[in-house]
Symmetry: C2
Subunit: 557 residues, 2 copies
């Protein structure tokens, strides 16, 4: 027991829990009824009864057939730090009835999660409805106080990492995906959480500086339309000199160099008429600031008549001084058409002026992108290398919530079931184990739940997998590989080996690998095949025995 | 100037900014490009140029014609505390190019918002598209660093308070509205923000204890299904005694008293067969904990056959001892039907057993409620007194984001316009004032923007209000009352009277009053009439002059 205690302490003190603690996540981040129930349990002297709760969701989001599980590390950090301050206890006292006994608040004062056990599927795993993501065991009052924070921490995390994975799926592996959602996110932490969990789901970088600092996520960003329109004319550029990259000399009039290039380009382009001079001034000014990574937003005035020629003139001038420009961003209009036109233009410059690599300048597109617009762009054909995605990604606009629930499945070694007229809402009782069974081709075939004490499925041995509620749906499976899904992340009083909490990059890699491992028909956008989730024959019998026992017998009147 | 500085300091130190600071809201809660632009402005020695930005949205959410403006106080608190720490400056340095000059980071080190001015519409005001919610003036680099945090803080706040107001509108004034969304919210702060801004929008209470503590919002909560199913039988109740409310004596066997009442009720009910005994045990246990405010969730097994009779038996037994029960919560099934049945049952008990007030017990309903289900319940007829609303409310499921933008409208006293092929995206240039003009019946008639230096509209004097972009849409108005919308919340270097930041309750009252003041046809759910937003004749002319000036002339090819 001491060893386990030490284990817990290690998790809280020696940094084996990575990353910062969200200061908002305290035991008061809770529904009031968790405290009223805690009091009622305590008053009935029932608070120490050992309960088992399953945390799971009922339906995959976004019309898909898979979900990426995220948020675990924050739950474990929460449990490691679970302790009510005097101030918080006072507030709970004010919020409950004045008749509540003082001794309850002494109990709250001493409450921690050292006798709670948490078993979970590793973060970043592809998961499915009904299979417990977490199994939490411990004194019923303590475990109920974990419900709201755990569900809150997992719901949005899993939803947004799934959304990110779906965007990655449609964009394809070769594209760079940038999360640009902070401004439209649901509050400051909605933005920070989105940045973190989009990274897990397969995004490459974020614009969110706070998330970059907190989690080490790569950052990206250039300039906005306001920067462009803050310039009026080239006269605003007072210092026109720029040093060559190798430091060997200085170009005294970089502006003239740009203008010379612009004339050549105009001839090539065959379009006469001036480009927007305030835009040109802004680009030159931005190039002075970032000569080594010149990226420009080219749609403030007119992409093909102004933004692209202006950008190319600056990029070519930078090239003369040994710098290599980065590329452009398109933020409006027909992104497919404009990206192809821009690419064609870059290639013609590469060819005409003999500038190697100019044709491969990076084209980034943004502007209300989502799964559907990415899909449409793919079908139309485009030349975009990187997508900046905001609103639809971070707010999970297509479906703004996941229905994660936390259900009592056993108390005092008595299995409990929650009935409902809606079968999909009936809970699966008992303290359970779950396994993922893999087939010959290496794909996961089915997840199966069994009672805690049943022997595990064995490689090469036939096992009957039953739909938990539909009698006729069942299949024999001979697994080629068996993976137990729940692992111990918080041992309570047990002297158990703890599963490590990996750094964010590893979670992201796990997620990407997991997604690649899935059979493609489960992952497709249109009419995906549901992945099978089952129970053992024994558990099936028991569920239905309990169901009949608990359900009232109707009367036809 | 000193006086103004003091004003700022007062705002930061003497508590005139109410409530706590969100620790996530630091200057790094920003898009990287705000820092790259700051560097580029600085490098071009343009960073101190005086710029004016408007913060506004383009379209009302949820298919409606109004929006509740929220989030202002958090913006003012952000600006009051705006200061980069050494640690943050180091991180910005790492995130920008290594070629960035050191002196820039000295500039960041000294940067605060003492020379920024913020004019805003008071929080809790009903607002409309295109009208600036905030006008922010100051050195261009500093103001750009406010864009992302301001937009983040206002977007979700305004969206969710509007959503709450819409729910209130359909529920009606007499109902109690409870926000129960923490578990499904977009992260911890998504939940806390939702609780705060739903309260502003007209909700009465929240289940979120953290929000209760932070903002003084009333808290509500009873127990969950897990509490009910954690009980197996009446044998679990060991101490069966309950003291009378007046303390005069003790009922030694409260359980028997309940059982006696249950038998009487069963006879009245005409339904034979036992109610669920584990549910009864849970209710009795909960009553022991909260005899003075007994509220029970009655749908764990069967509402009419078990939950209601069990609840009534406990409530009647409590009544014998001088306690008054609170009511029930329904969390599944046909809420209209069940609430009517429950009410009928309560009334028959009041009549049959002569228990005054029993028929008026509070019926609370929850379970995936939203505007549509509330509307449907109203049409069907119901007996619900209080609604607990979660997912759809707090995640703004029907529309998960508002499109607040922040646009440059003037720099160095030069008006700027942002063009777009989509007219709705063209910005309205110039440093402006805005007014709300009221008609004879006291309703707001139209909002009008004018240039900064134009004389304000006068009561009783005819003024031409023009649609900003459609030439033919214009109307003369003779206002009976004129209200200037923008007020000074942060004075910069000016010695201006500061608008107070009212406490949350006042903001909520303002919001409720504002909503009641609107003409009903703007507020209705189906096909509401758009509220008119206009510009003065002079501003109209100027917008179109600038537009023609900036827009490229097309070539038909």
């Amino acid at each position: 027991m001491e060893a386990a205690k030490n284990n817990n302490n290690e998790r809280t003190s020696n940094g084996s829990i990575h990353g910062p603690t969200n200061p908002m996540v305290t035991p008061l981040l809770n529904d009031l009824y968790q405290f009223t129930m805690a009091y009622a349990y305590w008053k009935a002297n029932k608070h120490q009864e050992r309960a088992v709760f399953d945390l799971y969701f009922r339906k995959n989001p976004f019309g898909g057939e898979y979900t990426v599980f995220s948020g675990l590390e924050e739950c474990i950090r929460f449990i490691a730090n679970f302790k009510l301050s005097e101030d918080e206890i006072d507030f709970v006292r004010q919020s409950l009835s004045p008749s509540c006994e003082d001794a309850f608040f002494d109990y709250l004062r001493g409450l921690d999660c050292s006798d709670v056990e948490v078993y979970a599927i590793p973060e970043g795993t592809v998961v499915f409805p009904k299979i417990p993501l977490l199994r939490v065991e411990g004194p019923v009052a303590a475990v109920q106080l974990l419900e709201t924070p755990f569900v809150n921490l997992i719901n949005f995390a899993s939803l947004v990492s799934t959304n990110a994975a779906r965007h990655r799926k449609v964009a394809g592996k070769s594209k760079t995906l940038l999360e640009f959602g902070l401004r439209r996110a649901q509050g400051p932490d909605g933005g920070i959480s989105a940045s973190k969990y989009c990274y897990i789901g397969g995004f490459d970088a974020t614009s969110n500086v706070a998330a970059g600092k907190l989690f080490g996520i790569p950052l990206r960003g250039t300039h906005s339309h306001a920067f462009v329109s803050s310039y009026m004319s080239l006269d605003e550029i007072t210092d026109r000199s720029l040093r060559r990259k190798d430091g060997s000399s200085t170009c005294e009039d970089f502006v003239s160099l740009v203008q010379t290039w612009l004339s050549k380009i105009q001839l090539l382009n065959g379009v006469f008429g001036e480009t927007n001079q305030s835009e040109l001034a802004a680009f030159i000014s931005y190039a002075f600031a970032f000569p080594d990574n010149f990226l420009a937003l080219v749609d403030t005035y007119d992409v093909m008549r102004s933004g692209i020629p202006n950008f190319c003139a600056v990029a070519l001038a930078l090239g003369d001084l040994g710098y290599k420009a980065g590329g452009i961003r398109l933020d409006s209009g027909d992104l497919a058409y404009l990206s192809c036109q821009a690419r064609k233009f870059f290639c013609s410059i590469e060819k005409e002026f003999g500038v190697p690599g100019f044709g491969k300048l990076i084209i980034t597109a943004s502007n209300d992108l989502n799964e559907e617009t990415l899909d449409a762009l793919n079908k139309q054909g485009h030349e975009v290398d990187a997508f900046g995605i905001g609103t639809y990604l971070v707010t999970c606009y297509a479906q703004a919530a996941l229905g994660v629930v936390f259900k009592l499945v056993d108390i005092n070694n008595q299995p409990r079931i929650k009935l409902s007229e809606d079968v999909s809402k009936v809970s699966i009782p008992c303290k359970k184990r779950s396994y993922r069974l893999y087939g010959k081709e290496g794909y996961p075939l089915v997840d199966i739940m069994t009672g805690e004490d049943e022997p595990p499925p064995k490689v090469g041995e036939r096992i009957l997998c039953r739909h938990p509620f539909q009698e006729s749906k069942r299949a024999y499976v001979v697994p080629q590989r068996v993976e137990e899904l729940l692992r111990c992340y918080w041992p309570g009083n047990l002297d158990k080996k703890l599963e490590p909490l990996p750094p964010l990059k590893e979670i992201r890699e796990r997620c990407i690998n997991q997604l690649e491992q899935m059979r493609p028909d489960h992952m497709r956008k249109l009419n995906p095949t549901p992945y099978k989730v089952s129970v053992s024959a024994k558990l099936y019998e028991f569920i239905h025995f309990l169901w009949l026992n608990e359900a009232p017998v109707g009367e036809l009147q």
